[in-house]
Amino acid sequence: MTAASAPVRTRSLQPRRRPGLAAARLARLELRHNAMLWMLPVTIGLFWFISYRKIMAAPPLWYVRASAFQTYVVVGFIVPVVGAAAWMGSREARRHVADLITTSARPRWARLLVTWAATTTWALVGYLICLAVVYGVTAHQASWGGPLWWPAAVVAASLLAYSAIGFAAGTLLPHRLTAPVVAIVSFFAVVLSTELITGSQSYWQISPVVSGPWDAGQDPGIATFYPYVPDLSIAQVMLLGGLAVIALAALSLPASGRRVRAGAAIVAAAGMVAVATAVRLAGTGTLDSHGQIAIPALHDAATDRPIRFTPVCTRTAIPVCLNPAFAVYKPAVAAALAPVLSEIAGLPGAPVRIGQVAAAYKQGPHNSVGVGPAGLPVSGGEYHILLPDQIPNPPLTVQELAGQVRSSTGSQIIATFLDLGRGSSPAQQAVAAAMAAEARVSVPSMLAIASPPVPRGSSCVSRTAPCAVIMPPRLSTAAEKASRRFAALPSVTQHAWLVRHLSDLRAGRITLAQLP
């Protein structure tokens, strides 16, 4: 074909054209006839069946719920969204309308973008419904804090990327099997993307499934004691945005003019730069002391400052004070600690109050992470405790949490009170065991603190390497006998003896024979 002469001027449709209105009408048609619309009930149903109940089983803490939501939705939405997008992308070829559509005036990329946008809109509508329910219920249940939007933004960006990748695959490889194949491959790619994470400094934590330190899990202290650090989320949004842009740029590859292809190449190059930068940034991330991934290039130092809060306290002889975000646990924690606190109340060196503190994290070798209370165990007469929920664990019910508080936190309080530790005397251990037994605290866990193979107040968390095995310690026969003898005394007698001899007992100057 040649341009031998200038075009003949025929009646022009240009002046009357309103591209916005036409695009809106086209979008309305695409929205009405979109596979994602039909997948929406399935997607929301799957979310409710697989994810919703698990998310809601977690404590009503914003970070815990938001990060679980991110992980579950990123995994749960991938198959329907990628599948529907690929199905829509391959529609023209499957329905044999390619000739009809090719000869229409609207550019291919503009036409395809409208179809993609409609698919993505429905995916986002489904997502927003799920988000509204989870955040709405959490807002109703949570006693403190507010919604976290960065995890929500990562999910939204994931859906954009899923939709773009699926749509591009369907458009470029149109076949009936493209949709299921791409959906399944994408699912496994996302699910398996976390398998190579080792430690906090891993490129693989860029995976949108990762909502925090993958080895340590979700720390309820985030957004309660310390602000949420969005560094990793920013890198993830950058990656997903880059992937979406690359996939959409690929739509203009076949049957487009040189200019369009050049423009698409520039857009795709920008997307690749975003992806490479995001992955590189994720590789520089480190586990900070508050249990979050900090990326130096993106980090805002303001997020390192603790959040100011007024603790909620019990009105008991020794008040138990918790972060207001954990207020829901106050009655259970107070009831669990009551037997221990009633034993030591009024004694010299007894705590002025029990205060919940943030967890401190330290990356160990390989995938191990050390977690313990931040700061000193005791300061100004206040005993510092961590709730079991603050140590990476599977989510606990309130009853389970109370049981763990009684055994582990109760043990900690007695141990701190009697200055129990490495090198403590048999008499200290005997009295500690007697007090633990009376307070219904597990004696072996109590004694584990006296002969710890790991530092006091730490727990070893590892998904790949086993932690050191702790054999339950045992009292010597003589100490056990003395412990039973001490426990058999009336509490008034015990109390009076402790008032007189506590400082000597703590200093290790009391022998087993001197115990009453």
Binding site: M1, S5, P7, R17, L29, T103, S104, R106
Partner: protein, 247 residues
């Protein structure tokens, strides 16, 4: 001239579908006749800007379809009905026609009226809200014709438009063709000579990628004088012209 073709050739791999075709067509209904595999569809697809020619010159509505901006202008003024148009089964007739009106970049405000008119012209007004999956083959064909004429094209290309239509619908469609041919260039590719006889002012006969006859339907009928193959003068002319070309 709305269509100017000079030495147009199209090759698909080793196969030569269209070989050095010269053709000029202006306003009116133009019939493109020929046996299966003659190259009619390939020629029509090049005129529809669906595929570019391998060589030769093609100008449509005074523009060069090889230049992107001019191609877009051509497509705004083009109506095309492929041999196998395909459809979206979930769309209603109105939605299907509206969809293509919007793809043809018709002014949005004009679209609803134009869609209603096109649907009415093909006799589908009563089924305008029926989903395409519920329509018969003939009704689907008419819906496809409606999308081709919705933008009041200056160049209308129809590939086997009457396939699947019943006799009454074919008669109505021929009347529509004559009406459209008063203002636009309508090129109808068919192997049904009665369609050509009833609606076309000019006709070309293609065989093995070449145009072997170009004239009026009456000219073609005259060619058939004395030929025994065919039931009508036009069919006899068709057979005679083909036989002459192949001899």
């Amino acid at each position: 001239m709305n269509v100017q073709i000079c030495k147009l050739t199209r090759r698909f791999g080793r196969a030569l579908a269209v070989t050095g075709v010269d053709l000029q067509v202006d306003i009116g209904v133009f019939g493109l006749l020929g046996p299966n595999g003659a190259g009619k569809t390939s020629l029509l697809r090049m005129m529809a800007t669906a595929v570019p020619p391998t060589s030769g010159t093609l100008r449509l509505l005074g523009r060069d379809p090889g230049v992107q901006r001019q191609r877009r202008e051509i497509r705004r003024r083009l109506g095309y009905l492929p041999q196998h148009p395909g459809y979206y089964p979930g769309f209603t007739v109105t939605e299907f026609v509206e969809y293509f009106a919007l793809l043809k970049e018709m002014p949005a405000a004009r679209v609803p009226g134009a869609v209603a008119t096109a649907v009415k012209r093909v006799g589908l007004a009563d089924s305008s809200h029926a989903r395409l999956r519920t329509l018969s083959g003939g009704m689907l064909r008419r819906a496809a014709i409606a999308q081709a004429i919705v933008n009041e094209p200056e160049l209308l290309l129809l590939d086997e438009p009457t396939a699947g239509l019943d006799p009454e619908q074919r008669a109505t469609f021929r009347a529509l063709l004559r009406e459209l041919g008063e203002r636009a260039t309508v090129i109808v590719s068919t192997h049904l000579v009665e369609d050509v006889g009833a609606a076309c002012n000019k006709v070309a006969l293609m065989d093995r990628g070449r145009i072997v006859f170009h004239g009026t339907p009456d000219d073609l009928s005259t060619r058939g004088a004395g030929n025994v193959i065919g039931d009508s003068p036009l069919e006899r002319g068709y057979s005679a012209a083909l036989a002459e070309a192949r001899s």
